[in-house]
């Protein structure tokens, strides 16, 4: 029985795999880490689920009666908007997680390992995807209790899931960039709010854009959040799809194409302070 701390000969260390296989397994380990965070951080999980439910009830029963959504009932109009708003705020969890890793020195530790260290970002993004799917399921169930009546077929639901995942994926990578740019965890919270708040409220999430003043309306109708919401709404309750599906695809792919390499670049040059 050997009792020394450094007893294992070096040769046994690190079985050598191809860069691809080890990159994949590094990502897997770090995804597992981030997934554990979801249920270990109960306060965060509860706030991510409870807050949107309260918003949904607020709009359904307090404001909803005063908003004219044409042929669609307000609750049917609302659900797509509230789901995407929740997904957008949920995606900012990545920036918090990344900033916390930087602050705690975990990024330094991972970067001093012989691994694909940016896999830590992938881990946080995947955790956002899982968390957002979970919170969306809870919200749709609650919505059904308050007279939400979707007309979506099984294929439509799969496409709705696809939209949700694509949007979350894009916003989580954007969020990773923010997390790496920010100077502190507090700054990240503020930054995420300032970005997501106007994108979700100056959109078609809660009211039809027709009643907005001209310039606000131009912004609201052309920004990505509105496109995702309108596409999802069309699939859920049969409003006209228009070009929203394609616009969503283009916006999300563009965000992803810019943010993944940018995040990787920022990550390489980042050291904990």
């Amino acid at each position: 029985m050997n009792d020394t701390l450094l007893s294992i000969p070096k040769e046994e260390n690190a079985k050598h795999h191809s860069a691809f296989v080890s990159g994949f397994s590094d990502s897997f380990v770090l995804i597992q880490r981030s997934l554990r965070h979801i249920f270990r951080n109960m306060d965060q999980l509860l706030s991510i689920v409870m807050q949107p439910i309260m918003f949904m009830l607020l709009f359904r029963y307090v404001f909803g009666g005063a908003i004219d959504t044409g042929g669609t009932s307000y609750v049917n109009f609302l659900v797509a908007g509230i789901l995407i708003q929740t997904a957008a705020f949920g995606a900012t969890t990545t920036s918090l997680s990344v900033a916390t890793d930087v602050q705690r020195g975990i990024i330094d530790r991972l970067k001093s390992l012989p691994i694909l260290s940016s896999a830590v970002l992938t881990g946080h993004v995947v955790a956002d995807l899982v968390r957002n799917v979970l919170s969306s399921i809870v919200m749709i169930i609650v919505a059904l209790f308050i007279d939400f009546r979707p007309v979506a077929s099984f294929t439509d639901w799969l496409m709705i899931l696809g939209l949700l995942l694509l949007f979350t994926f894009a916003f989580s990578w954007l969020s990773a960039v923010i997390g790496l740019l920010a100077k502190s965890v507090e700054a990240v919270q503020w930054f995420g709010f300032v970005l997501v708040f106007p994108l979700t409220f100056a959109s078609a999430a809660f009211v039809p854009t027709e009643t907005m003043p001209k310039y606000l309306r131009i912004f609201a109708e052309n920004q990505p959040v509105t496109h995702v919401i309108e596409a999802m709404r069309a699939l859920m309750v049969g409003t006209p799809l228009g070009n929203h599906g394609w616009a969503t695809l283009i916006w999300c792919l563009a965000i992803i194409a810019i943010c993944i390499p940018l995040a990787a670049h920022l990550f390489r040059n980042k050291v904990s302070k």
């Binding site: 009792d3 701390l5 260390n13 690190a14 397994s25 965070h37 270990r40 705690r104 330094d108 904990s272």
Partner: protein
């Protein structure tokens, strides 16, 4: 493969690092022979952490060269990373994972496989006195436990070269001693260690050699004894209420110097031989029926080192600005 001398695990030549206009390292030279420990001693802001970050491939130097086991830290950074373990100033652990999960995660990132990682986690938790805590999430740990877990994480892959950046800063005395014991065992097991510290006592206790750095340069390097010879050893201070007593004591003892402090008369005697020496001096003085009012033993501090070597105190502006 840029091999320099193979008997040195760490070699640093003329290392420079600027952060914009701020010159942090201004031509730092270091060597650490295989299996030895060098302590990098200096105040906040002297460049200790920057040196460790360059050696552990986290920062690129502005100039100069650094090699770990003969590999260039810039050109062969991936190879260097497979040879080093890093423990930073803060416990870089995942607070939402348990101690065991933290270690297993590190093992798997070193591609040791789940089974081997689990085996090492069990062993490391035993060796670091964390068996009971191993199943709890690390958020609940005390400061000392977090640091021990942090050190355990840097040992998962049994790297031959370790960088310990102020491993005991902010720890209570008990945790500090526990940490020292672990570091001493690592030395015995043959690790090459670069330790940074602000405490002369720590460097003295642990390291084979000490390099004192200031403003990004090594200002003196040597064994603890060599350094102390430069700085002065421990001092015994005897306080007398009457000046003639102090004079008499000096005459009997034969060495020392008298310092007048307020209305007290202090005989300061350097002690070379530890406890035995102190006992001899006290026996001699009190044997001559001289009344000693009080006594104390003063150890040389980092401040003493700096005052002697640089003429300025260690706790000046750099320390202040780096604190917040």
């Amino acid at each position: 493969m840029a091999t320099t001398s193979t008997k040195n695990s760490i070699e640093v030549k003329g290392l420079k690092k600027n952060f914009k206009d701020l010159k942090v390292l201004e031509g730092l030279d270091l060597t650490v022979p295989k299996g030895k420990m060098l302590a990098l001693l200096g105040p906040n802001g002297a460049g200790k952490t920057t040196t460790v970050r360059i050696l552990s491939t986290l920062l690129k130097p502005t100039g100069g060269n650094a090699y770990v086991e003969g590999f260039d830290v810039v050109k062969d950074s991936r190879k260097v990373r497979s040879l080093i373990g890093l423990t930073g100033q803060y416990a870089a652990i995942d607070e939402y994972l348990t101690g065991e999960e933290n270690i297993i995660m590190m093992g798997r990132l070193y591609h040791l496989g789940l089974e081997e990682s689990t085996r090492r986690a069990k062993k490391l938790l035993e060796q670091f006195d964390l068996v009971d805590a191993g199943k709890r999430i690390a958020k609940t740990y005390s400061g000392g436990m977090k640091r021990r877990l942090d050190l355990a994480l840097s040992l998962v892959a049994t790297p031959p070269v370790l960088f310990l950046d102020e491993p005991t800063t902010g720890l209570d005395p008990r945790s500090r001693i526990a940490m020292w014991n672990v570091i001493e065992r690592l030395m015995k097991d043959g690790a090459t260690i670069l330790l940074t510290t602000q405490y002369l006592e720590e460097a003295d206790k642990l390291a084979d050699r000490i390099a004192v750095i200031d403003h990004g340069r090594v200002i003196v390097e040597g064994t603890a004894d060599e350094l102390k010879a430069k700085v002065g050893s421990d001092r015994l201070e005897l306080v007398f209420s009457r000046p003639e007593d102090a004079d008499k004591a000096l005459k009997i003892n034969g060495s020392g110097s008298i310092v007048e402090q307020d209305d007290r008369h202090v005989l300061v005697i350097p002690i070379e031989g530890g406890v035995e020496d102190v006992k001899k001096i006290l026996d001699t003085v009190s044997g001559a029926n001289i009344a000693i009012e009080s006594m104390s033993i003063q150890k040389p501090t980092l401040d003493d080192v700096f005052l002697r070597l640089t003429g300025h105190a260690a706790t000046l502006e750099q320390a202040e600005s780096a604190k917040s």
